[in-house]
Amino acid sequence: MNDIDRRAFLKASAQASAGFAVAFYLPEPKASAESEPSVFEPNAYISIARDNKVTLWVTRSEMGQGVRTNLPAALAEELDVDLARVNLQQAMPGARFKGIRLRTSGSGSSSGTFGSLRKAGATAREMLIAAAASTWNVDRTSCRADSGAVFHVPSGRSLSYGELVAKAAQQPVPVNPPLKNPATFRLIGKPLKRIDAPQIVRGTAVYGLDVHVPGMLFAVIERCPYLGGRLVSFDANKALQVPQVRGVFPITKGISTGVAVVGDNTWAALKGREALKVEWNPGPNQNFDSEVFAHELESAFALDGYPIRRDGDAPHALQNSSKTLDAVYHYPFEAHAPVETMNCIADVREDSCEVWVSTQTPETAHENIMKMLGLPSERIKVHTTLVGGGFGRRLFVDYVDEAVELSKQLGKPVKVLWTRTDDTRHGFFHPASAEQMRAGIDADGRILAWVHKSVGSDLSMFGLPTAEQMKDLQRYAKDEAPWGAFDTPYNFSALKVDYVPVDSPVPTGAWRSVDYPSRVFARESFLDEVARAAGRDPLQLRIDLLAPGDILKLGDQNIDRGRMIRVLELSREKSNWLQPLNPTANRLRGRGLAINIYEGESYIAQVAEVSLARDLSDLKIERIVCVVDCGFPINPLGLEGQVESGITWGLSATLHGKIDFQKGQVVQQSYRDFRVMRMNEMPRIETHIVPSISSPGGFGEHAVPPVAPAVANAIFDATGKRLRRLPFAAGSLEKAI
């Protein structure tokens, strides 16, 4: 993946302009002498049949963010069809979707496709109207489309879309079809409930793990537990004696080498795996320890690293400050831990391969299979199912590679299941990082300098840069990395941001909101420290630092400080910021604020309220007020759900989750030791959406980054103790300096 620009891969807006073009799908000419087309397919997304059946293709993976609702809604809005009656098809890599991105990443599925889907729908609608006008021999402006039919307004005549199929297909394709006036939207911008909900609540929705292929066998794989270790040998005898075990095979692909045990059902495979004897070569990283690595990260503060931002002369301003503050923040390795563990079903035949998989990137799976098997593209089918949680983990296809390798050896279809322990221990983790923060203030509490040195690992998902590439001192700044440090939105008179990359042997990848959580944790916590030291209100200070509400241009980003100020002002009102919280006899209470701007397109502020027992035990997150401006909200109901989801995700990392390594292996095994939030720990979440007609921004990830600093700032407010290392597990407060 070296050649792929990291930001373009992970973020939506970085390639939004490229994505705006509608790829026009031209159906293959039919070999038969059929005179009239039976379907009208003006582009890859839409198919209308003579029986009025409308099929819309979904070009992103549904993993809870609502794409199977929001994307069809954008098409149906412009096409003027009833969303409840359309048939949805999941797009598959191949000829039909050539040139159309199917990968789901960067919170951009709804926002990034919005324009092109509207255009695709409008194109079809205009061609249908033109077909009707020509049938009636009337002026097209006297016709209008509504609910799957074209009406001739003066005469009241109508033709259904199905009746217009043949003629519509002959119409010229409009280059710039008129889009609807947003004031007339029936679907977009309205609260839309999830289309798949009836199947989900009845247990009939199909995830990767639910697919059943006739004749399929079941497998689990014992993978090398050591980072970078290798399989040396295995003894399959005992495993093969387990009833219903059908075979044991080495696996060379995937995240690590291993041994697959195949059975007639999952249970047989699991029992067979228990009976397996495997010898591993622990490899070069057998002493890797995440505690030691955290110290290595801190040691790297001594290095210059790569310049990211330079505004004014920060070192000089620091010297002139009457008071300087220093703090170091740490963020641990984190796992994605979706409830649906990794899995894949593969059916490799002599001259074909078919896989069923819950993945965020079917095109990568498709390309890998082409390479692995040497098959032409059209002999490969990658079916994307519903995804039982992605969060970035499923931007990898290591589980597909394994299943394909195994099915090829077996000559049969096989379902490879990862157990929870497999999934916890073999991830592409959020990289640990450390942030060194410095600020200088003058006697009046003005901030004269802000210095942020971020130390972390590059995401190994892209392959590590070469020595030659590393010679370019601007390489990270050009990539607008690290997110959250590069795009520091505040108007500091002197600002210096640097990045020091430190490699680790840990496989790392995008984790919900990628670089932001660690850098925003440091930035927003430290700003709270500075505000307290300067005797200033943390909310008003942020507004002052965003004044005069101008546009900050950074690389490709246009950060609208005015939008952020309005979000902060609404937060002040909705969180009752100016009214003091009343501690009770038994409990301390505190309130904290943090903000973030994602790629200059989504603006968010969170105010957390916490309470603790007087002995600092029993931390409870009581309430989180979240104000968002993510541009025009395509589906406000879905957006509110994503806020609640992102906050819960952020709380899991803030309070519980982290991945440790000892002796080159992951320590955690399951939700027992990699804990995530549960119902009884949840705060009340209040979401306020700022009405906006700005172009829609993404929202799958954006509520995550402010959570940890908002909670840390609230804890400080309650206790006077500053937590700078996640997670804030039991004992953190007692240890806090």
Binding site: I200, V201, Q244, T266, W267, G388, G389, T648, S670, M677
Partner: protein, 155 residues
């Protein structure tokens, strides 16, 4: 292998399999009732929650040999028309995100409402906190359970 007779969703089933096989894999691999999800296999995530009689159990923690003569309900059998008050409330409140854990959540909630028709927030916390939703749909789930309780009492 041995034949075990148990009732699933009102239908008697004779299952010939390893007595130690967890009911989860009996349901999913042998009966193709895939609404009951695998999440951890060790009883801590709740994705495979089903009903034994009216009590919630983890299908991954029940071995086939323990099921003889017992009656189980999975999400597929919770209601004939898919309109159990919880199922309706889940749709009304737009609870589901990725949706993977939701069948287990709904089964736990249905068991709660059977035991306590008008649960308090504390009752809900107690009944639901054995289950994991990584998407974080807890707030809407709580609303849906309260709503289902209201609808149930009206019915």
């Amino acid at each position: 292998m041995a034949v075990h007779v148990l009732t699933i969703n009102g239908k008697q089933q004779a299952i010939d399999a390893d007595p130690e096989m967890p009911l989860l894999w009996v349901l999913r691999d042998l009966l193709l009732l895939t609404g009951t999800k695998y999440g951890c296999g060790v009883g801590i995530c709740g994705a495979c929650s089903i009903l034994e009689g009216h009590l919630p159990v983890r299908a991954c923690q029940v071995s086939l040999h323990q099921t003889a003569g017992k009656s189980y309900t999975t999400i597929e059998g919770l209601s004939a028309a898919g309109d159990h008050p919880c199922q309706r409330a889940w749709i009304d409140e737009d609870v589901s995100q990725c949706g993977y854990c939701q069948a287990g959540m709904i089964m736990s909630a249905a068991a709660l409402l059977h035991r306590i028709p008008k649960p308090t927030d504390a009752d809900i916390d107690e009944a639901m906190s054995n289950s994991v939703c990584r998407c974080g749909t807890y707030q809407r789930m709580r609303r849906a359970i309260h709503k289902a309780a209201t609808q149930r009492s009206k019915a």
